[in-house]
Amino acid sequence: MSPPAKSLAETAVEFGLKPEEYQIIVRRLNREPNFVELGVFSVMWSEHCSYKSSRKHLAKFPTTGPRVIQGPGENAGVVDIGDGQACVFKMESHNHPSFIEPYQGAATGVGGIMRDVFTMGARPIALANALRFGDPGHPKTRRLVAGVVAGIGGYGNCVGVPTIAGETNFHHSYDGNILVNALCVGLADTDKIFYSAAPGPNLPVVYFGSKTGRDGIHGATMASAEFGEDAEEKRPTVQVGDPFAEKLLIEATLELMATGAVAAIQDMGAAGLTSSSVEMAGKGDVGIELDLDCVPQREEDMSAYEMMLSESQERMLAILKPGREEDARRIFEKWGLDAAVIGRTTETGRLVLTHGGAVVCDIPLGPLTQDAPLYDRPWVEPAVQAHLDPADVPPPADWSAAVLTLMGCPDVASKRWIWEQYDRHVMADTLEEPATAADAGIVRVHGTRKALAIACDCTPRYVAANPFEGGKQVVAEAWRNLSAAGADPIALTDNLNFGNPERPEIMGQIARAIDGMAEACRALDFPVVSGNVSLYNETAGQAILPTPAVAGVGLIPDYARRAGFASMRDGDALLVVGTSHGELGASLYLREVLGREDGAPPPVDLEFERRNGDFVRGLIRSGQVSTAHDLSDGGLIVAAAEMALASNVGVELSPTSATHAHGFLFGEDQGRYLIATADPAPILAAAHAAGLNVALAGQAGGSDFACHDLFRIPLARLREIHEGWMPAYMAGSAPVS
C-alpha cells in the first residue's frame, strides 16, 4: 500500500487517533511520522491496546493476595493452587468482530484467549464464555446465536479443550452490539511461568506459527470505535481462525518451553507483530530490530505497514536464549510450523524496522508504551432507580403461568441447545454431574484430587439500575457460585463491556461499576488478576446495558467434596441460607411477568455474603451437603425448579411469609443459597449458633413442582417449557417475546 495523497494528520484521524493525539506524536518524534510509524502509533494508542479511558479506574481493583503470582499486566493472571502448581487465566472480548462475522469472530476470540494462556507456559484445560445477544425478535439475533455458538464450538472442540461453563442473556440493548466474552483457564508449574519482558539485548527474535496475511489489519482500531451504519463493511478486518494450527502451536510452544530455550514469549494478538514486539522490548527496557523481509508471508507484495498491522491468527513471537535456535528449529519442523528468526533485541531503546533493505520505521519505544495517552474522562454520577417495596408490586394474576413464563423466558430457559455443541468432556477431567447441573464448571487438576471451579457472571439489568450496587453484585455472584460448588474462590478476571466512554453518563457507569466491583473484591478477598476492557459498544447512539462480566476461579481441595444441584433426593428438606426480604426491584419477575424494568437492584451485604458462603462451603467440605444452588435470577422459584428438574424429583415449597409470597418466591435478595439435605436439624442448629438465617423452604418428593394452593405444575410440563424454548427459537418456531 502506498501512502495516500491526503496528509498524515488526516490519515491519523482515519486510523482512529484524535487530532491532539497526532500532535503528541509529532512532538515526541520532533518530526512527522511516516506511514508505517503512524500505523504503529495508532494501534498502540487505540483504546483496545492502551486502556487509555479505563486505566485510571482499573487501578482501583485489588490485584494482590497470598495466592497471586501474577496480576494484571501480563498476558494472563497467575494464581498458586498448591503443590507447585499454578492456574493461569484470563477473559477477553471479541464483540465487534463477532457482530460482523459471528463464526470467525467468536472462533478467533477463543483462539486468542487460549494463546494468552499458553504463552505463559500453561496448558489450557478449560474454556468458558459469557454471551449477550439482542432481543430474540430482532431479525439478526438468531443468525448471530447460531454463528457464535458454532464458532466457539468449532474452535474449542478442534483444539481439544473442554468448554465447561458460561452464561447467555438476551436483551434489546445488544441488538446492534452483541457481546462474546471468552475465558481460558490453564495449568502450569509455578516455577515454569513464562513472561513477555525481553531479558536483554542481542538475543534472537523468532517468529513461529501461521504465515502473515492481510487479514485483520486495524482490528484493534475497529474494536475501539462505535459502529455506524456501515458495520458490515468492516468485514475485511475480521480475522479467520485455524484451530488446527492453534493445536500445533500449543504443542510446539509447550515443547519449546520445556527445552529451556525460551527467554521471553508473547503471542501476536490484537495489533499483531506491532504490539508483541513493542511490548516485549518495552517491558524489558531494550530496543528491537526486525527485518520484515524475513517474516513468513501468506500473500505476495505485502507492505511493511500491512505486516505490522496484520492480525493473522495463530502466530507467536519468542526471544530465545543465545544459541538455542537449533532446538527451536527442530520442534517447529516436527509440528510443521512456519518459523524464522526475524530480528534481535538491541540496546537502543528503539523500534527499528527494515523492509526491502531500507529502514521503514525508527522510533523510540518510550512514547509508544509509557507515554500512551491516559484520559481522566469526565463522568457524571449515574441516575439510580428507586427502591421497590414488595407491597407495591402486585402478585401474579396466575401463579402457574408466571412460573412457566419465568422458566421458559430466554434468560432462564435451558441453554442445552448451546452447550451440547461444545465438547465439555475432552481431556477426561470434567466432572460430569447428571446434565452438568452445578453453579460452576468443574475440572480436575489432572492426576490429583484437586479440582478447579469456574463461574462466569454479570447481571447487566442490576448494573444499569445502579452501577455501584450492580458492580458489587457481579463479583458477589461469582464468589457465591464458586462457594455453592464447594470451592474456595481464589481470584477473578474481568471483562468490562460498556458503551462510548466519551459520553459522561457512560463513563459514570464505568467508574461506579468499578467502584462497586472493587469494594466487593476487597470484602471477599477476591483479587482481580487479569482483565479486558471493551468500550464503544454502541450503534447509532444506542449503548448496551453496562456489562462488566467476570469469571471467577475457585479451588476444590478434594473433588469428592463438592456440590451440584442434581443430587436432591425424595424426602430431602430444602433450606434457604440467607435473609429474604422479598427484593423485587430489577428482578426477572418484574421484567418477564409484569413487563417492567424499574426498581433498585437487590443490595449486597458483603459481610453476610461472606458468612453465608463460608457456612455453605463448610457444609459441603464436611460432607453434610452435596446439593446446593445459589439464588439469583428469578429467586427461590427458579433455583428450586432447576434443582427439581436436574434431580428429577418434585418439590413442595412452603413460603414462610403469607402476606408477600411473591416477594419470598420471586425476590432476588442476595447472599442466599438453596441446599437440600436429608438431615436438616444439625444444619439449622449450626446456623442458629453462628447467627445466620437458615430457614426451611420446602420438601423434595413426588413428581410436581408446587407451592401449597398457589401452583402445582407437573415436572414433565415444567421440563417441556424449560427445555423447549431455545430449540424452538433456533428452529424459528418459538414466540420471540
Binding site: G160, F244, K247, W335, E420, R424, V426, M427
Partner: protein, 220 residues
C-alpha cells in the same frame, strides 16, 4: 500387556486414551508419532484416538489414513493385533478401509456432546467380553460427523455377522440402524464414536469405558 496410542497432528484424545488404559488396566502405554514407520514390538492393542487429525479440513480422517504409520497399523491388524479407533479414530479406520462404511455429518448438522446409553449388540467380541453379558453401557459422544453410513447390503451383512457391537438407544446423529460401533469380520479391528476414554471413573459419569479396555487386554 502393552498398548500404543497413535498421535496424529490434531489428535486431542491421545492423552485421554493413555490415561484411560493405564487407570483401567495398568498396561504400559506408548505414544507413537504418526510419522513413525515402525511400531513398538509386542503390542496387544493399538488405539487411534479422537480429535481433528490434520484439522479434518478434508473428509474426517482422510489425511490421517495416509500417514506413514498407518501402513504399520494395517500390517498389525493383518497379523491380528487388536486395533480400536475411537471417534476420529473410527473415521480414520473407515478411510483406511480397515472398516466398511463412512461417517457423515450429523443429521442435525451440529456438533453434539452428550452422554449416550448404548446397547451392547455383541457381547462376545474381544472388546466387549468384559461386560460379562451386560446388554447396556453408558458413555459420552462428542462429534460433528458421527452419522454412520453404509449401503443396505453392507448393513445387513454387519448385522448378520454380529459385527455391530454398539448401538445407540437414542440415536444422536442419524446413524444407519443406530450403529455406534462395529468390528471387522475377523473381530480384531473396532471403530466406535462413543468415548470409552472419557468414561473410566465414576466421577466422569460412567466406568463402562474401563470394561472396554479391560476386555481387550484380558483377551490378549
Amino acid at each position: 500387556m502393552k498398548a500404543a496410542v497413535i498421535v496424529f497432528p490434531g489428535s486431542n484424545c491421545d492423552r485421554d486414551c493413555k490415561t484411560a488404559i493405564e487407570r483401567s488396566t495398568g498396561a504400559n502405554v506408548e505414544m507413537v508419532w504418526h510419522g513413525e514407520t515402525e511400531l513398538p514390538g509386542g503390542l496387544d492393542l493399538i488405539v487411534l484416538p479422537g480429535g481433528f487429525s490434520y484439522g479434518d479440513y478434508l473428509r474426517c480422517g482422510a489425511m490421517a489414513s495416509l500417514s506413514p504409520v498407518m501402513a504399520e497399523v494395517c500390517a498389525a491388524a493383518e497379523r491380528g493385533v487388536a486395533v480400536a479407533g475411537i471417534c476420529n479414530g473410527f473415521q480414520i479406520l473407515c478411510e483406511a478401509r480397515l472398516l466398511p462404511g463412512a461417517l457423515l455429518r450429523n443429521a442435525s448438522l451440529q456438533y453434539v456432546c452428550k452422554p449416550v446409553d448404548l446397547e451392547i449388540a455383541n457381547g462376545q467380541t474381544r472388546f466387549t467380553a468384559g461386560f460379562r453379558g451386560r446388554r447396556e453401557a453408558r458413555m459420552t459422544v462428542g462429534h460433528g460427523e458421527g452419522n454412520y453410513f453404509a449401503d443396505e447390503a453392507t448393513l445387513d451383512r454387519l448385522e448378520g455377522e454380529g459385527q455391530v457391537v454398539f448401538r445407540y438407544r437414542s440415536n444422536p446423529n442419524g446413524s444407519a440402524r443406530s450403529i455406534a460401533g462395529i468390528v471387522n469380520e475377523r473381530g480384531n479391528v473396532l471403530g466406535m464414536m462413543p468415548h470409552p476414554d472419557r468414561a473410566f471413573e465414576p466421577e466422569l459419569g460412567s466406568e463402562d469405558g474401563a470394561l472396554f479396555f479391560q476386555s481387550v487386554l484380558a483377551s490378549a
